[in-house]
């Protein structure tokens, strides 16, 4: 029989473990609650349609930052999505070669590098040459952050496709590239695009690498070779500003970003989760 002491110890440890979980999600609740409470009021129609008004005047917005974020993230994805998926294919379909080993190492290393340093690289490579901050350099930095993310998820998803599917295709006499591009990839396109969405949500919130690449702007940018405003950088600059109105808009922008991140993460995780659970 279990002694009383051991039973009490068992119970109190269980309570401690569960308390740990509650402490762990308390910040999530607090962050979400504050972002909604403070940000909700800022989300007026002009918030989405106007550029910043002079301090003191009402009706300013951050349309320029919203558009800017779309432009920079969009530019980054044009290169990053195909490149990331192709590298994912390379890793899952031709594994254990020398190229694959080095690529795997490079991808892990890249994901561990602080994103700030990727921004520094983009500064050295593009901003210093062009002698101006630009949408190009910001997009370049985000692209480099995005590629390994997409590669990782694509690789994982393609590896879940059973070997028999590949063999069936090859047995029909199809070349491997056709098996991969026509059978395997379309078969897991949902999971792969979930990975792409997750990566998009992730880089939409990246701030540090944009500080000295895209920089920021008080209004709409006229060309991609100009500095450009983005939501995360706007949150940062407004949050450390002394004006209440700017701070409130900073919360509004944070609410937009958090919503985007949560919806994308929630939906895609539910999708990927049900897929993998269904297989077991």
């Amino acid at each position: 029989m279990k002694s009383n002491f051991r039973k009490t110890k068992d119970l109190s440890l269980k309570v401690l473990y569960i308390m740990g979980v509650l402490i762990a999600i308390a910040p999530l609740v607090s962050v979400l609650w504050t972002v909604v409470r403070e940000g909700y009021g800022a989300l007026t129609p002009t918030f989405f349609t106007n550029t910043p008004a002079p301090v003191g005047e009402v009706g300013g917005g951050i349309a320029h930052a919203i558009i800017g974020s779309f432009v920079v993230v969009g530019l980054a994805s044009i290169v990053a999505i195909p490149w990331g998926i192709i590298l994912g294919i390379a890793r899952s379909e031709f594994p254990k070669t020398i190229t694959d080993n080095i690529l795997g190492f490079a991808i892990d290393l890249f994901m561990s590098i602080p994103t700030l340093l990727i921004g520094l690289f983009a500064y050295g490579l593009i901003v210093m040459r062009m002698r101006t901050f630009s949408a190009w350099s910001g997009a370049f930095a985000l692209m480099l952050i995005m590629v390994p993310l997409i590669t990782k998820t694509t690789e994982e998803m393609l590896k879940q496709v059973p070997l028999t599917v590949r063999e069936a295709g090859l047995a029909l006499g199809l070349p491997r590239w056709k098996v991969i591009l026509r059978i395997i990839l379309p078969g897991s396109i949902g999971a792969v695009s979930s990975g792409v969405l997750l990566a998009l949500a992730r880089i939409s919130g990246e701030t540090a690498p944009l500080l000295f690449t895209a920089f920021g702007m008080r209004t709409f940018s006229q060309s991609l070779s100009e500095p450009i405003a983005t939501l995360p950088v706007q949150i940062y600059t407004y949050s450390i500003s002394p004006y209440d109105e700017w701070r409130s808009q900073s919360w509004g922008a944070a609410l937009v970003l958090v919503m985007l991140a949560l919806v994308v993460n929630g939906v895609t995780r539910a999708l990927i989760g049900s897929r993998t659970r269904g297989k077991k």
């Binding site: 279990k2 039973k7 068992d10 440890l13 269980k14 473990y17 569960i18 308390m19 740990g20 979980v21 762990a24 607090s30 962050v31 504050t34 972002v35 490149w83 192709i86 590298l87 294919i89 031709f94 190229t99 694959d100 892990d108 561990s112 590098i113 602080p114 994103t115 700030l116 340093l117 990727i118 520094l120 690289f121 050295g124 490579l125 480099l144 590629v147 070349p175 491997r176 590239w177 991969i180 949500a201 919130g205 990246e206 701030t207 540090a208 000295f212 995360p232 949150i235 940062y236 949050s239 450390i240 919360w251 970003l257 958090v258 991140a261 949560l262 994308v264 993460n265 929630g266 995780r269």
Partner: protein, 299 residues
């Protein structure tokens, strides 16, 4: 029989793979090149001194490296027990569905952008620290020495707490994955010998995943060292040695984020790039350590 198109296909995949590897190499070379001037002018004393004064052209990274280390380790100290508790509860204690829901909540912590944590830090955590937590620690535990500075709200401890929150999902999801792979027989063996549930958790789950727990800590450390925005917003940005864990300070990442745009002098820019190189070296070494530990734990 090999299709000729297949060779072409494989080669183009290889080409794009090498292109990515080349970008990584280019990045390392580029950062080294950017920091070359500072290395030439300052040399090794950059790592051993702590005067950072762009006006007098004095640059030393020691104080920032120390603050980076302290904030990251404190974050780890907070986050390790919590992530263990999360992983254990979610995999062993809770019902399957509840476990999934709570696991999902903890994972969502990773979805929130760094800059939003910073914003939350400035307006929620910092006032809380300034008015409640720090005065209490200062009065009751000030004699220990590490709580001995007048509370500002911003500072090392505040940054560590934010970091702890941010690395928690990374660590707990890794632990969760490991705990899920522990064979049922191993747990049943402990239970069959009369162990209580928590004794079983210790004997069959935690004890047998020691190396994975270390791996999770290394991974958390790596994330914490390079985290920039949230830290920049709550650490107080003071270029000086920390006196206590309430001191406003500056990490290597926050220093770069704060000064790089405003730096005008070539040597200043180059010195900041050298801070970046230092950070790059540290994070690469940690990544190598992680790979080694994780690979061993998986065998």
């Amino acid at each position: 029989m090999k299709h000729r198109q297949d060779i072409l296909f494989k080669n183009s995949l290889g080409l794009l793979s090498w292109a990515f590897i080349a970008v990584l190499v280019a990045m390392i070379l580029s950062l080294l090149h950017m920091s070359g001037l500072a290395w030439e002018k300052i040399g090794f004393s950059f790592f051993t001194t702590s005067h950072w004064n762009p006006v007098k052209h004095q640059y030393g990274v020691a104080a920032f490296a120390w603050a980076t280390l302290v904030t990251s380790l404190l974050a780890l100290l907070i986050s390790t027990p919590l992530s263990l508790a999360v992983a254990v509860s979610v995999t062993e204690l809770m019902k399957k569905r509840a476990g999934r829901v709570f696991g999902f909540f903890v994972d969502m912590l990773a979805a929130i952008p760094s800059v939003v944590y910073g914003l939350w830090g400035i307006f929620v955590l910092v006032p809380l620290m300034r008015t409640q937590v720090q005065p209490w620690l200062f009065e009751n535990l000030g004699w220990i020495g590490i709580f001995s500075e007048v509370p500002y709200g911003v500072g090392i401890l505040t940054a560590s707490i934010v970091l702890a929150i941010m690395i928690l999902p990374t660590m707990s999801s890794l632990l969760r994955e490991v705990f899920q792979t522990i064979p049922l027989t191993q747990k049943e063996a402990a239970l069959g010998l009369g162990a209580t549930k928590t004794e079983m958790i210790y004997l069959s789950v935690v004890k047998s995943s020691k190396s994975s727990i270390v791996a999770a800590m290394v991974l958390g450390l790596a994330r914490a060292l390079g985290e920039t925005m949230a830290v920049t917003m709550v650490i107080g940005n003071r270029n000086d040695w920390m006196k206590s864990i309430f001191s406003p300070a500056q990490t290597m990442a926050s220093l770069i984020a704060n000064e790089y745009v405003e730096a005008t002098h070539d040597l200043h820019l180059s010195a900041l790039a050298l801070v970046g190189v230092t950070l790059l070296m540290i994070s690469s070494v940690i990544q190598l350590v992680f790979r080694a530990i994780y690979a061993r734990g998986r065998k």
